[in-house]
Every structure is written in structure tokens, then in C-alpha cells.
């Protein structure tokens, strides 16, 4: 009941046959349907940051003993919409000393990969846009492109301090990408496939009928890889306690200080899209995607389960932001190279031992 996954894919096939039937060449119909699917994903993904920004300000408010936005719309729901409109109409200023082209293209390069990464994410039963066989590697590769966006942002702002901020941000993102990829390797070893949908489906089984066989519940390897993945995702999205890139109180101004209006909105959109992406991946990899916890997934459709679990992890991102102070640059780097990386190697070794033991018994 409520499973709109198969319904949607059914809709796309009928749409294509209908278009093919009405004189549109089969190739054109296929491209048309692809365009419709991509359009739906881009629309829904661009809605998500609106919700996340609102959630962040509300959570921040409640954590600090205040209410958060209450003015625009009931309980401040339209606040993000108002911010968005305000940002769109801000004057578009390009600093004179800056490199014009790089300044204009930087927010696009920082924001576009965020949408592409949502293709292989399994939102529910049958709701994976493109079930790539190498979806995990694909997501890490494409999200690496936005680091180039950060560098371009630093270079495109023209002043030396933003460039330093951009370099620091890029160095942090690149060095935290390695433990992040290595923390997902145990999963690939365990389930033998890289496709997120495959991993999510493989976790639908139950231990002793009650405990769901999610990877997070595997005794040691599950928790270690989840914690490392979460920490690295926080670092990858430049959020506290790793937000040195746009640290206001630090000496070096952040890389996107020179971007006003819609360009700043794009950087903002990218950050929240990546937070949502990281949570969606964490749910697909560690919490069994659209798998219902108590009810056998029948009563509540799988995509509602998926979104619920994703917002649970998004809440952890927001929670970190309002409780942790900021780490210093060198502490942050040594934490990555001297703590997270060795532990991810240990985790891979443990998973290997587990698989060998399982193979023998």
C-alpha cells in the first residue's frame, strides 16, 4: 500500500510507449522520458535544501533556548522561501581584481555534482533513478568535483585570504575523502556489490525474526565504519566541527565571502544537498534503505521509511553543528591521517577476517 515505486516506473514505461505511439521516434521518446525523470529528481532535490535550512534554524533555536524563525508563514515554514527570493534579487557583484570566468563558474561547479550524485540513491522499492553497478564509486567520484568548485571559489574571489581559505577547504575535503571511501569498503566486501540498491535490498533480512540485518548491527565492523563514515561526511561538507573553510572568526576569510546573491545561494544549496546525500547514503548503506523496522514494510511505504531514517541522520548533522566548537587546522588534519585512516584499515582487516570465518563455517 502506498508503494509508489513500481507505480512510477510503470508510469514512465507507459509514457514512453504513448510518446512512441504518437509519432515521436522511439529514440526521442526515450530521451523525453529520461528528461522527465531527471526533472523530477532535480525538482525534489532542490526542495530538500529548503527543508533542511528550515530544520537547521529550528533545531538551532530549540537547542539554544529560543524558537527559531516564526514570522514568515505558520511556524516560519516559508522563511527559507523568503531567504531564497531575497538572495535571488541581490545585486550580482564581481570583485574587480577577480578572474571573471572563474568567479561565475565556481558556484555552478560546486553545486551541479550534488544533483548528479542522487541518481543511484535508492529512495524506496523501485525508486532508484539509475541503478548503476558502480554507484558507490560514482557518488564519491562526482562529489569530488565540487572540491574543484571550492578551489575556483577561492581563486575567483580575487583576494589572497579567500584563496588561502579555498586551499584549506580543498585540502580538508581531499584528505577526508580517503577515510570516507575506505570506511565504505567493508560494506562492498560484505555484500559483494557496489550498487546502493543492491546493498539496501541485501539488508532486508531479519536475525531471529526480530532484529533487522542492517549493517550497523553487525557487532564491531558495522559501528566503526558507520562512525568513520559519519565523521568524514561532516568533514566533507565543511560543517562544524570541521568548518575551517568558512570560519568567520578565524583570520582567513572563507572562500565564499565574495559571492553574493544567487551565487551564494548555490554554494548554500550545495552544502545542504551534500548533507542530504551523505545521510541518504548512510541510510542506504547502514540502515537498510527503505526497510521497515517493526511493521513488515507493508503498512508504511518504503520511501517514507527511507526519508524518515535520512532525516534522523540529518538531525545528527544539525546536532553536531550547534554543540561542537571548531577544530584547528593542524588538529583536523592529524585527526584524519593519524586516527581515522588507521582505524578504517583495521576495520577492513576485521571485515576480511569475518568473511573468511563465515566462508569456512
Amino acid at each position: 500500500m502506498g508503494e509508489i515505486g513500481p507505480l512510477l516506473s510503470q508510469l514512465f514505461h507507459t509514457g514512453r510507449d504513448w510518446a512512441a505511439g504518437h509519432g515521436v521516434p522511439p529514440l526521442g521518446a526515450q530521451i523525453l522520458m529520461m528528461a522527465v525523470q531527471v526533472g523530477i529528481i532535480i525538482l525534489s532535490i532542490s526542495l530538500v535544501p529548503m527543508v533542511l535550512v528550515y530544520a537547521e534554524r529550528k533545531v538551532a533555536g530549540f537547542m539554544q533556548g529560543r524558537l527559531g524563525p516564526m514570522e514568515v508563514g505558520p511556524f516560519g515554514i516559508l522563511q527559507t522561501l523568503a531567504d531564497g527570493i531575497k538572495l535571488i534579487f541581490k545585486e550580482d557583484v564581481i570583485p574587480r581584481g577577480a578572474d571573471r570566468w572563474v568567479h561565475i563558474v565556481a558556484p555552478i561547479v560546486a553545486c551541479a555534482p550534488a544533483f548528479v550524485c542522487f541518481a543511484p540513491v535508492p529512495f524506496g522499492k523501485g525508486m532508484t533513478l539509475v541503478d548503476l553497478d558502480t554507484s558507490v564509486l560514482f557518488i564519491f567520484a562526482v562529489s569530488g568535483i565540487s572540491v574543484i568548485g571550492i578551489l575556483m571559489g577561492g581563486w575567483g574571489s580575487g583576494n589572497k585570504f579567500s584563496m588561502l581559505g579555498g586551499l584549506r577547504g580543498a585540502a580538508q575535503a581531499v584528505s577526508y575523502e580517503i577515510p570516507r571511501v575506505l570506511s565504505v569498503v567493508p560494506l562492498l566486501m560484505f555484500y559483494g556489490t557496489q550498487s546502493l540498491r543492491g546493498i539496501a535490498v541485501a539488508q532486508q533480512a531479519r536475525w531471529l525474526g526480530v532484529l533487522p540485518k542492517w549493517f550497523i548491527f553487525y557487532p564491531v565492523i558495522g559501528q566503526i565504519s558507520f562512525v568513520i563514515f559519519l565523521i568524514c561526511s561532516v568533514a566533507e561538507t565543511n560543517r562544524t566541527p570541521f568548518d575551517i573553510a568558512e570560519a568567520e572568526s578565524e583570520l582567513v576569510a572563507g572562500f565564499h565571502t565574495e559571492f553574493g546573491g544567487i551565487k551564494f545561494a548555490l554554494f548554500f544549496l550545495a552544502e545542504y544537498a551534500y548533507v542530504f546525500l551523505a545521510s541518504a547514503m548512510a541510510v542506504a548503506l547502514f540502515f537498510g534503505g527503505g526497510d521497515g523496522v517493526i511493521l513488515p514494510g507493508g503498512l508504511i511505504p518504503s520511501w517514507i521509511w527511507f526519508l524518515g531514517k535520512t532525516f534522523m541522520i540529518v538531525f545528527m548533522f544539525l546536532w553536531f553543528r550547534w554543540t561542537f566548537p571548531r577544530m584547528r587546522v593542524d588538529q583536523l588534519m592529524s585527526f584524519c591521517w593519524k586516527f581515522l585512516l588507521p582505524w578504517s584499515f583495521v576495520n577492513i582487516a576485521l571485515t576480511g577476517a569475518w568473511i573468511l570465518w563465515r566462508a569456512h563455517s
Binding site: D99, V102, F138, A141, L151, A171
Partner: protein, 169 residues
């Protein structure tokens, strides 16, 4: 005949050649680095077109996510105020064009009669991650270990050169 792959092929190749030209002719080194990033992305598209999905993803991951970032680091750290006025190409650009054109013509001429009509055998795209993994650790094990040594040497070399000699003393 127009089918989806050929449309994609032609658009990608126009993009690739256009950006490659920008890489070699642009006055601003940062712009050529941007163009190179674009070219690498399009080459990854070619790999995907040829059914090598694992390769396309790793190309983007390693090249765009790794090498280009280090290259941009060095470009940003070594940029001089008067770079924009400098001529980026030296004087023998005419001979360069001639030589390059000669190489291109000879290559294309030599491929023409050998590989003219070879069309693709219609196999559907099978996922390549697992076979590549088995290949790397199976038949190609020796080069696999050798490359790890090369990478180690490169790492040590980069650290040695990157170190500020005075700081080291």
C-alpha cells in the same frame, strides 16, 4: 544513422577537442587547468560510452578529484601578479602546429586502412567492476604490486621535493 550513442559520441568529441585546444592556447593558466578538468570529465564520458563504467568512475575520482586539485594548488601557489601579461606560448608555435598536424595526419592515415570498418559486436554492457578486480589480482598481480612500489617512490619523492630545504636543516 543517428542513434543515441553516436549523438553522444559526436557531442563529447566536439567538447573534448574544444576544451583541449583551450588547454594549450589559453593565456591564463587557471583557465587551461579548468579546461583540462573538463576534458578529463569528457574522457570519462567516453569510457562510459565504451562500457567501461568502473574506469569512468575511477578516472573522475583519480584525475578530477585528485590530480587536478594538486595541479590547481600549484597553479594557485605559483601565480605571479604579472602572469596575465606574459606570452604563454614560446616563439616556435608555427613549427609546433606543423609537427602536431603531421603526427595527427600520419596516425589517422595509418589507422584508416587497418581499422576502417570495424563495428562493435553488439554485446550488452556487462558490469566491469568485479571482472577488473579479478583481473587485477589474478593475471595482472605482478604489475599491480610493482605499481604500488612506484606510487611509494612518487610519494617519497614528492615529500622530499616539497620540503622547504631550509626548514629541513
Amino acid at each position: 544513422m543517428i542513434n543515441l550513442p553516436s549523438i553522444i559520441f559526436y557531442t563529447f568529441s566536439v567538447l573534448a577537442i574544444g576544451m583541449a585546444i583551450v588547454v594549450v592556447t589559453s593565456r591564463n593558466v587557471f583557465h587551461s587547468a579548468m579546461a583540462l578538468t573538463g576534458t578529463l570529465g569528457v574522457v570519462a564520458g567516453f569510457f562510459a560510452l565504451l562500457g567501461a563504467d568502473f574506469l569512468a568512475a575511477s578516472q573522475v575520482l583519480i584525475y578530477v578529484g585528485g590530480i587536478m586539485i594538486i595541479m590547481l594548488f600549484v597553479v594557485m601557489l605559483s601565480q605571479q601578479p604579472f602572469d596575465a601579461l606574459q606570452r604563454q606560448t614560446n616563439t616556435q608555435w608555427l613549427y609546433g602546429i606543423l609537427f602536431a598536424a603531421a603526427v595527427a595526419a600520419s596516425l589517422i592515415r595509418s589507422f584508416r586502412d587497418v581499422y576502417r570498418g570495424v563495428a562493435a559486436v553488439a554485446t550488452d554492457t556487462v558490469p566491469t567492476s568485479a571482472p577488473i578486480g579479478r583481473l587485477l589480482l589474478g593475471d595482472m598481480l605482478v604489475p599491480f604490486e610493482a605499481v604500488s612500489l612506484v606510487l611509494l617512490a612518487a610519494l617519497v619523492g614528492a615529500v622530499v621535493f616539497g620540503q622547504d630545504r631550509k626548514a629541513a636543516k
